[in-house]
Amino acid sequence: MHVPDNYLSPQTDAVAAVAMVGVWAHCAKVVRKQLDQKHLAFLGVAAAFSFLLMMFNVPLPGGTTGHAVGGTLVAVMLGPEAACIAVSVALAVQAVVFGDGGILAFGVNCFNMAFVLPFVGYGIYLLISTRIPGEAGRRVGMAVGSYVGINVAALCAAIEFGIQPALFHDASGAALYCPYPLSVSIPAMMIPHLLVAGVVEAVSTVAIYSFVKSAAPEYLLAEDGSGKPRRSSLVPVAVLMAALVVLTPLGLLAEGDAWGEWDAETLGELAGSVPAGIADGFSFDALMPDYSLAGLPDAVGYMLSAVVGVALLVIVFKLLSGLGRGQAQDGAAARA
């Protein structure tokens, strides 16, 4: 679902980026108001979970691959606005450091995975959990919400891909960007997500949420503190994250590329020719392209990428939480 550069027209990228500026501003405002320093630092852990989930590629029908995103998971743990910020930062790290997802298409990717997915998923979670009381309602809400959320996000990506040939083509009618129309992109994206990726998203959301709730409930925003106070420690969460990092090379077992994430050469083989906008488009050299490093076995390079990504996300959100504390102290000093 990570749209690469040049598959969408610059106009499409620009519209999504402009839309996301407003969303980010609103989310940042809400997050500043809702989350204290502890929860803001934990947002880094949540973003790291999302980052790791996106590294576990699963084979999909049709010979492509897909992955969970964890957007609904973060939304249920810390609120949809926090999820938007967390997934956006994870996507930024993926784009800049690992070349996964385009730089120009960053706004589009954030729109699909950081805005549509968590907000839709969280909305459905609220709808169900308020109607079915108790823990069962929550779990059903999470599972259905995350399943629907990732599929709606995939539908958005499919529509963005599919409208390109109709809107942007040369005088001969040849597509300038993504060459596949809606009749191809929607089934190609939706069938695998409905059958496999959605299920993976639902299972991972419920499993990780249950684990975090039992190990560190006080870090979850939704926990209202009712019932007996329990010991809360981030150590089991860190152990789970380390285990996920060690297991990330499993994502390499899924062979092939995700639909719409091919390089120009592969697209040329699949579509018969490379559209002009992709052949002569923008290119960016990432630090660790495709989560690999020259000289290292693929599995080790993938694991090292996971370590770097997770550490970067945790550091970024810890620094942000420190910044928030500094501002709070300044505000308190000014009021005094």
Binding site: Q37, A41, D285, L287, M288, L293, A294, G295, L296, G301, L304, V307, V308, V310, A311, L312, V314, I315, K318, L319, S321, G322, R325
Partner: protein, 292 residues
């Protein structure tokens, strides 16, 4: 309306005091000095001196910021110092960037394990050094080798954060005795001791001088470089003064120029484990360089 003081003066047969126009309330002469364009001075000289002032060895001695720091605190300082030197040389010499990225991963994990307040100073210093490195490498980027700038900046960030991670958690005496344990001559240890000790002090002195200069200056300074040169000159004089005082103080306390190696046991299980890890990393370095 005449004031009470004026009435008293008239009663005493004296002429009332006439205030100059600029001193009369409400009659102040307009004086708005032009804002000095000292951005370069403030952003560069002050930033540099702030960076020097941050080179503070042992600022977190005895305080373990994370689980990793707690484990490393059990390792003998000579082994940590030697391990750091070996790893820094490997990172600097690495032609294959995989090793530099591996050490970047190590330094990031060590940073991420710390609380927010302890990450910022290291990240800021290492980030500034990486940025300066990238700027120095800008010509290479302009000549078609942009990855060189990124590579050098990555190496700079990894090495500086690893070095800061060690030097924040060990004291001066531990460093000097570790250097002696590594058979470094006392004279060399003395020079290093004095130099590194004074860098931080001089950084702070230069920072205070620059701040004082910025506070006292009004309007546009015609020769800003003279001010900067003055700060540097005063810093040099202060360095001379500090060195003389330090020398006298050391002699008064019976220092005869020799440094003692550490008395506690160096080869502990924790140290041996650390050495095995460093040797493993060196093997990875050799393997990766061979794979080039």
């Amino acid at each position: 309306m005449p004031s009470q003081a004026d009435k008293t003066d008239v009663a005493n047969g004296r002429q009332p005091l006439e205030l100059p126009a600029w001193l009369v309330p409400g009659g102040m002469a307009p004086y708005e000095p032009k804002v000095a364009r000292e951005g370069f001075l403030r952003k560069n000289v002050l930033a540099l001196t702030r960076l020097l002032a941050r080179v503070r060895v042992g600022s977190r001695v005895g305080q373990c910021d994370s689980a990793i720091d707690r484990v490393l605190a059990r390792v003998a300082v000579p082994a940590r110092l030697l391990g750091l030197l070996v790893l820094l040389v490997c990172v600097s010499a690495a032609a294959n960037m995989a090793f530099a990225y591996l050490m970047l991963g190590v330094s990031l994990v060590m940073l991420a394990a710390r609380p927010a307040g302890r990450i910022a100073p290291v990240a800021r210093t290492a980030g500034v050094v990486a940025l300066v490195t990238a700027l120095v490498m800008l010509p290479a980027a302009l000549l078609g080798q942009p990855t060189s700038a990124v590579r050098m900046a990555t190496k700079a960030f990894a090495t500086v954060s690893l070095a800061l991670g060690l030097f924040q958690h060990v004291s001066w005496s531990q460093v000097t005795s570790a250097l002696r344990w590594l058979r470094l001559p006392s004279q060399a240890v003395f020079v290093l001791d004095m130099t590194l000790r004074d860098i931080e002090l001089l950084g702070r002195a230069a920072l205070e001088l620059s701040d004082a200069l910025a506070l006292r200056s009004v309007g546009v300074a015609r020769d800003a470089t003279a001010g900067a040169a003055g700060v540097m000159g005063m810093t040099f004089l202060r360095a001379h003064e500090l060195a003389a005082r330090q020398s006298e103080a050391m002699r008064l306390r019976g220092f005869d120029g020799s440094y003692e190696p550490p008395r506690e046991r160096v080869l502990t299980p924790a140290t041996l484990t650390y050495v095995v890890v460093v040797v493993g990393l060196v093997c990875v370095f050799v393997y990766l360089e061979g794979a080039m």
